[in-house]
């Protein structure tokens, strides 16, 4: 019986998703292609969130934490300064805390030609 229960629970784990992504819009848009490197990335959330870590990966190689600067409060809109790392795909991975205590995270990307 234990085996059956275990198998059932593994099944649930497999279908589970850590998805709590209340990110409304981003600039550049997710999956957008832009001709020029933006000076900053804008993130607009559906509710108040405190960002705790945002990292950016360029062309699947260089990864760095973005500077949250003074934006360390619960708010809806964030503007994070960008470093030009050249053409290619930029993947932004963010983590944060909702004001209800829920951990939130998500990813979006854009391409610079």
């Amino acid at each position: 019986m234990k085996t059956i229960l275990l198998a059932g629970m593994m099944g649930i784990w497999a279908t589970g998703a850590m998805a709590h992504s209340p990110l409304d819009t981003t600039t550049p848009d997710n999956a957008a292609t832009v001709t020029e490197m933006p000076t900053e990335v804008l993130m607009d959330f559906k509710g108040d969130i405190r960002l705790t870590r945002v990292s950016i990966t360029h062309a699947g190689k260089h990864s760095m934490d973005m500077d949250l600067g003074e934006q360390k409060a619960f708010m809806q809109q964030f503007a994070l300064p960008m470093h030009d790392m050249g053409a290619g795909v930029y993947v932004v991975e963010w983590r944060g805390l909702g004001d209800d205590g829920h951990a939130l995270n998500g990813t979006f990307s854009f391409t610079v030609e």
Binding site: G16, A17, M18, T52, R53, R95
Partner: protein, 282 residues
């Protein structure tokens, strides 16, 4: 499949539920049925609950940074402290602390322990899928659901112990009989409260069948159904037989309780997955 932190969060949540529910249930059962020798049991599960409380809080810190450093990062933990997660942490530490302290305070201490257990159980109203909704009825339902289940869990081990020695068969029959009477109220309350919460949180038959959350809930309901069958066998067959002095019934009761425990562990495990790793259908 969740990452290592996701799995750690589920295992910790499972230990938290097991610790808090069993500790609180044991002291409530001790008060209601005037049980002896339950102090070690309650203390051990309260200690498990305390460890899981701290670890669960710390793991939430890791969730914020995405690595181990978050587990001890003062900024991240301070941030969590300012949210309802911090309130729940405080209630669990105080509640379980009182529960343990009460165990060493003699007769009046049982009330202190029960009060502490109540606070620890109440902490679950502050975080998770039920919190943040303006439905008082939902909070009442969750609290009733947890109290009724805690009592059920709490009575099992002492009852099994009484049924394991011929000197206490009569006492086992008596406690089992009295719990059986109370359970005719608490178990339907548990089911109605659970059904109501499921209805509010899941919302539709499509969501029940079509989402991971709904499917996990179905598994939980099936497990509880199995638990009810076992409990019915105890109440309708083994306890009455034991009251009539049938010593073989004590053995059956003891084995039945062991199986009940296995199913309860599965119920708590499924609940940990539900509350940690699955999002509510929208």
């Amino acid at each position: 499949m969740p990452d290592a932190f996701g799995l750690a969060a589920i295992v910790t949540k499972f230990a938290l539920y097991l610790g808090v529910m069993t500790a609180a249930g044991t002291v409530i059962a001790t008060l209601m049925f005037r049980l002896d020798r339950t102090r070690g049991l309650a203390a051990a599960f309260a200690a498990l609950g305390l460890m899981a409380t701290v670890l669960a809080f710390s793991l939430r810190g890791a969730n914020l940074t995405g690595d181990v450093s978050g587990m001890t990062d003062p900024e991240m933990l301070g941030l969590l402290w300012s949210t309802p997660v911090g309130t729940a942490l405080l209630l669990r530490l105080v509640g379980l602390g009182l529960l343990i302290a009460g165990l060493f305070m003699g007769r009046i201490g049982t009330w202190v322990s029960v009060f502490g257990g109540g606070i620890a159980i109440w902490s679950f109203d502050h975080v998770g899928h039920v919190s943040g909704r303006d439905t008082t009825l939902l909070y009442i339902a969750l609290t009733l659901h947890l109290l009724a289940f805690a009592l059920w869990i709490g009575v099992l081990t002492p009852l099994k112990r009484l049924a394991s020695s011929s000197g206490t068969y009569a006492l086992a029959a008596d406690v089992g009989h009295r719990f059986g009477i109370i359970a005719t109220i608490t178990v339907p309350a548990l089911i109605i409260a659970g059904g109501y919460m499921g209805y509010v949180l899941v919302g539709s038959l499509d969501a029940l069948i079509g989402t991971g959350y709904g499917q996990a809930l179905i598994i939980k309901v099936l497990l509880v159904g199995l638990l009810l069958v076992l409990a019915a066998a105890n109440k309708l067959r083994f306890i009455p037989a034991l009251r009539l002095g049938d010593s073989a019934a004590a053995n059956h009761l003891s084995k039945s309780i062991s199986v009940e425990w296995l199913v309860i562990l599965a119920v708590l495990g499924t609940t940990a997955v539900l509350t940690t790793n699955l999002t509510l259908p929208t």
